[in-house]
C-alpha cells in the first residue's frame, strides 16, 4: 500500500489551471522525484500536500488517512515533514534549537509545568538536547551547534532544515528544491544525506528543477508540465521519454 496517494487533484489560480487532475503515489521506503520546467505546478503540488493551500477538487491520503481538509500543523503531526524552496531556518535561534524545535510534538509539557521547570521537563529537555546533537552529528553540523542558525552558509542551512524534519521522526519528508543555489560539493553532501535517510527507512519526495541530482538518487520520477502529469517511471526510462524532452526543450527553441 502506498504511503502517500494523490488522487485527481485540481487547483486553479484566477482561472489558470496550475494542476489539472494530477494523480500519483509514493511508496514507503523509496525516493520519488518530482520534476518539470518552471511553472509546471511542482511547488503548488507540494503546498497542497503539506496543507498550506487547499485543492479545488481531488483528495490526498497519507497512510490511508484522508488529509485533504486538515490544517498544516495537523498534517505535520501525522508524520509528514517538509523543507522549503527558499530556506526557512529559524534565524533567531541557535542551530541546536532549530533541531529541537522539530521535536515540538514529541516533547510533553504545558505552560505551567514548563514555567515551573518541573523535574520531568528538565529531564525531557536534556534528552532532547542530546538527541538533537546526535542528529547534528549525522548531518556534520555538530561543530557549530551553538552558533545562530542565520550565520550558517546556505548549504548548511538546507541540511539544518532537513535535520529539523528528521527530528520530527517523520515517515515522509517533502524536499522542495534541496539543491537549488548550492555548490557542486554541497549538492554531493545533500544527496549523500538523502541516501542515508532512505537506508533508515524514511520515504522522500523531492522536487527538483534540474535533472542531475534527482536522476542519480531517485527510484522513480514523475514529470509535470503545465499542470499535467506527462511521464512516470524509473529515471532512465523517463529521461528518454519524448514528451519530457519536448517539455524541457520548449523554452529553448
Amino acid at each position: 500500500m502506498p504511503l502517500l496517494v494523490v488522487k485527481e487533484i485540481t487547483k486553479e489560480y484566477d482561472g489558470v489551471r496550475a494542476l489539472d487532475r494530477v494523480s500519483l503515489e509514493v511508496l514507503g521506503g523509496t525516493i520519488k522525484g518530482l520534476m518539470g520546467p518552471n511553472g509546471a505546478g511542482k511547488s503548488t503540488l507540494f503546498h497542497l500536500i503539506s496543507g498550506i493551500e487547499k485543492p479545488d477538487s481531488g483528495k490526498i491520503y497519507f497512510n490511508e488517512k484522508e488529509m485533504t481538509s486538515l490544517e498544516p500543523h495537523e498534517i505535520s503531526a501525522l508524520g509528514l515533514g517538509r523543507t522549503f524552496q527558499t530556506v526557512q531556518t529559524l534565524g533567531n535561534m541557535t542551530v541546536v534549537e532549530n533541531i529541537m524545535t522539530g521535536m515540538h510534538l514529541r516533547l510533553k509539557g504545558g505552560l505551567i509545568s514548563s514555567g515551573l521547570w518541573l523535574p520531568r521537563i528538565k529531564k525531557a529537555e536534556k534528552e532532547a538536547l542530546n538527541e538533537a546533537k546526535e542528529i547534528l552529528d549525522r548531518l556534520g553540523l555538530l561543530g557549530r551547534w551553538k552558533s545562530p542558525a542565520s550565520q550558517l552558509p546556505l548549504g548548511k542551512q538546507k541540511l539544518l532544515e532537513l535535520g529539523r524534519a528528521l527530528a520530527m521522526k517523520a515517515e515522509l519528508i517533502l524536499l522542495d528544491e534541496p539543491a537549488s543555489g548550492l555548490t557542486p560539493v554541497e549538492i554531493q553532501q545533500v544527496s549523500e544525506t538523502i541516501c542515508q535517510l532512505k537506508r533508515q527507512g524514511i520515504t522522500l519526495f523531492i522536487v527538483e528543477h534540474h535533472m542531475g541530482m534527482v536522476m542519480e538518487i531517485a527510484d522513480e520520477v514523475v514529470v509535470l508540465d503545465n499542470g499535467h502529469l506527462i511521464a512516470e517511471g524509473p529515471p532512465d526510462v523517463v529521461k528518454r521519454d519524448s514528451k519530457v524532452i519536448e517539455a524541457y526543450m520548449k523554452g529553448k527553441r
Binding site: 503539506s50 496543507g51 498550506i52 490544517e71 498544516p72 500543523h73 495537523e74 505535520s76 503531526a77 515533514g81 517538509r82 522549503f84 526557512q88 531556518t89 529559524l90 534565524g91 533567531n92 535561534m93 541557535t94 541546536v96 534549537e97 529541537m100 524545535t101 522539530g102 521535536m103 515540538h104 510534538l105 516533547l107 509539557g109 505552560l111 514548563s114 514555567g115 515551573l116 521547570w117 521537563i121 529537555e125 532532547a128 551547534w145 551553538k146 552558533s147 545562530p148 532544515e161 529539523r164 524534519a165 527530528a167 520530527m168
Partner: protein, 361 residues
C-alpha cells in the same frame, strides 16, 4: 624591530584587571549573547539579585523607593509584553487595557466586596487573561500593522467602557481608597515594603518566563516569530501559540495592574490610555527585545527619565521626545543588547590595545 613584550606582571596591570574582573561578574560572555546557553541561569544573576535586594537599603530615600516600585510594576508589564513582542514577534498597542482590567478588578473587589488583596491579586490576573483569551481568538488572525490597530482599538474600547459604567467603575472619577496590599495580616504600608513586594513578584515572574523561554514553548514562540510556515511544518499550532502567549502576557499585565492599584490606592481611566500602552512598548523596544533583562532595564530607565524630566514642567515632553529619538538612533537594538555588545567591545579593545602598543598587531 619588534621588542620582546615583558612577561612579568606590572603594577599598572591591576588597574586593568580590577575593573575587568568586576565587569566579568555582571556582563554576559561574548558568545553568550546569542547562543544556546544565554537561556540558562548563570551565577552572575545572583549578583543582580543581590544588587536589587540591597539597593533600597543603601539609598534610603522614600521618593527613590516609590520610583523603583513603579519601575518594578512597569517591568512586570514590560516582561509580559516582551514575551509577546520580543519572542513571539507580535505587536500589541492595547496592553494598558489589560493593566487597567487588573487594576479595576483589584479596586472593585477590595473596596466594594472587601476581598483580601491577595485573592484580588490572583483574580486580576485571571480577569485580564480571560479578556485576552476572548479578544485574542478573533484579532490574533491579523498580522503586523493590522494587529497593532486592532489592539489599539481594544484599548480605546476599554476606556470608553470604564468611563460609561459609572456604577461599577466610578466613571471618569475612578475608585479611591484601595487598601494597601496585605498578606496574612502583614500590610505593605511603606514604600520600602512595597519595593520588596513588587520586586519579589517580578523575580517570580522573571524566573517563570526564563524557564518558559528555554522550554519547547519558548522555541515555539521564536519559531512563530521567525517563520510561521516553518513552525506549521513541524506541527506547531500557530494560532494556539499566539493566543497562549497573548493570554500569558495579559495575565502579567493583570498582576502589574493589581499591584499598581494597591500602591497608588486609586484607579482612574486617565492612567490606562494609549500613551501608557506606547510607553510600555517603548520600554520593551528600548530595553532590548529577545532577552528578558531588556524590559526590566527599559522600565527602570524610562521611569527615572520621566521622573527627572518632571522638574522641567512644560518642557518635559519635548526633551523626553528628543531623548527617546537619540536613544533609538544610538541603541537601535535596545540598550540592554547594545550595552552588552559595547562593553564586550571595550574589553576586547583594551586587551588588544595593550598588544598593539607592544607591537603585536
Amino acid at each position: 624591530m619588534v621588542k620582546e613584550p615583558k612577561k612579568e606582571f606590572r603594577k599598572r596591570d591591576f588597574f586593568y584587571l580590577i575593573p575587568l574582573w568586576g565587569l566579568s561578574l555582571i556582563v554576559p560572555d561574548a558568545d553568550d549573547l546569542y547562543s544556546y546557553r544565554s537561556r540558562e541561569f548563570k551565577r552572575r544573576e545572583i549578583y543582580y539579585l543581590g544588587g536589587v535586594l540591597v539597593l533600597p537599603l543603601i539609598w534610603p530615600d522614600p521618593h527613590f523607593h516609590h520610583l523603583m516600585v513603579l519601575a518594578g510594576i512597569y517591568a512586570i508589564l514590560a516582561l509580559g509584553l516582551s514575551l509577546f513582542l520580543g519572542y513571539a514577534g507580535q505587536i500589541s498597542l492595547g496592553h494598558a487595557a489589560f493593566f487597567g482590567i487588573g487594576a479595576y478588578t483589584t479596586a472593585i473587589l477590595t473596596t466594594r466586596y472587601s476581598f483580601p488583596s491577595f485573592v484580588a491579586f490572583w483574580a486580576s490576573a485571571l480577569t485580564a487573561a480571560t479578556a485576552a483569551f476572548l479578544i485574542g481568538k478573533p484579532i490574533l488572525k491579523l498580522k503586523g500593522y493590522f494587529l497593532a490597530l486592532a489592539t489599539l482599538g481594544f484599548g480605546e474600547i476599554f476606556l470608553v467602557i470604564v468611563r460609561e459604567t459609572q456604577t461599577l467603575t466610578g466613571g471618569v472619577i475612578g475608585i479611591f481608597g484601595i487598601p494597601w496590599f496585605s498578606l496574612a495580616g502583614f500590610s505593605f504600608d511603606t514604600y520600602l515594603k512595597q519595593y520588596y513586594l513588587t520586586w519579589g513578584v517580578l523575580l517570580g515572574l522573571f524566573i517563570f518566563s526564563k524557564n518558559l523561554v528555554r522550554s519547547k514553548l519558548g522555541r515555539a514562540f521564536l519559531a512563530v516569530a521567525a517563520s510561521e510556515d516553518a513552525a506549521k511544518s513541524v506541527g506547531i499550532d500557530v494560532a494556539q501559540v499566539k493566543t497562549g502567549v497573548f493570554v500569558l502576557s495579559a495575565a502579567f499585565a493583570g498582576f502589574a495592574g493589581s499591584l499598581f492599584a494597591c500602591t497608588m490606592s486609586t484607579a482612574n481611566p486617565e492612567a490606562f490610555g494609549l500613551g501608557f500602552s506606547t510607553l510600555i512598548v517603548m520600554m520593551v523596544i528600548l530595553g532590548g527585545m529577545g532577552n528578558l533583562y531588556g524590559p526590566i532595564l527599559g522600565s527602570i530607565l524610562l521611569t527615572c527619565l520621566i521622573d527627572i524630566l518632571g522638574r522641567y514642567q512644560e518642557w518635559s515632553l519635548p526633551i523626553y521626545g528628543v531623548i527617546l529619538i537619540l536613544l533609538l538612533i544610538f541603541f537601535p537594538d535596545g540598550i540592554g543588547t547594545r550595552l552588552g555588545i559595547r562593553l564586550l567591545y571595550l574589553i576586547g579593545y583594551w586587551a588588544k590595545k595593550k598588544k598593539r602598543d607592544e607591537g603585536k598587531f
